[in-house]
Amino acid sequence: MWFPLLLFGALSLLSIPVVVWLGLGWYNLFWGVAGPTGGLLTALFYALAGRRIGLEVPAVPYLVALVVIVAGAAVAGAVGGIIDEPRLSVAGPPLAVAAGLLLIARQTRSVALVWLAGIVGAVDIGLLAACSAPTLIAVTVGFAYGVPALVVGLGVVWRKRRR
């Protein structure tokens, strides 16, 4: 579980300078590449880890979560562009990520992932309702997901090393 947390946590924090310095277009491009690539790396990580520890699990639930994240983010971005609502383009993908995290949490029975998905979803919906600046939404969601994900991910690594 630590790998997707650290990977997507780092990517979320990395997306903040992208949107601040390069703008929303580059931000969307960043996630368009980083999201699917990160998802595939995560699937590869679980496959290799399963083989190493001696327990191979079905890949389908993780692929479904990946499809939900990628398709949800793509639809939100496209709809936001069509109706000229950049806030939706920025706030929609994190909601898709939260939905995907919930699917992975169910599969891995991870309470931490449920909390993380809840935090991301709540912050995102709150910002969508209250904030008019898309860049501010992107930055806040980047922090709201990135910091807890890195903290939880590092905590999991620390606990594994202590055992």
Partner: protein
Amino acid sequence: MTSHHPVNGLDDVVHQRVRLGILAVLAESTRADFTFLRDTLDVTDGNLARHLQTLEGAGFVEIEKRFERRRPRTWVRATAAGRDAFAKEIAALEALIRRVQ
């Protein structure tokens, strides 16, 4: 009445602790290796091997022995019959719990 008692739905091959544990692990996975099962179920090599033989004889698991990086490795996967037997066992246990609670 006794013929409909939930305990009659329990399968002696599946119900034993280690064998139930093996099928429980395999029900949630594609396959598991011998070492993982041994450590997870806290049994000895010989004990696990004996129970795997029983399950294999009943057609509930398939055992694949191979060399990986020049080391022997034994993978175990549940057959369709094994998954079905495990599901029936859980259903029987649920029925028993409902009856006695």
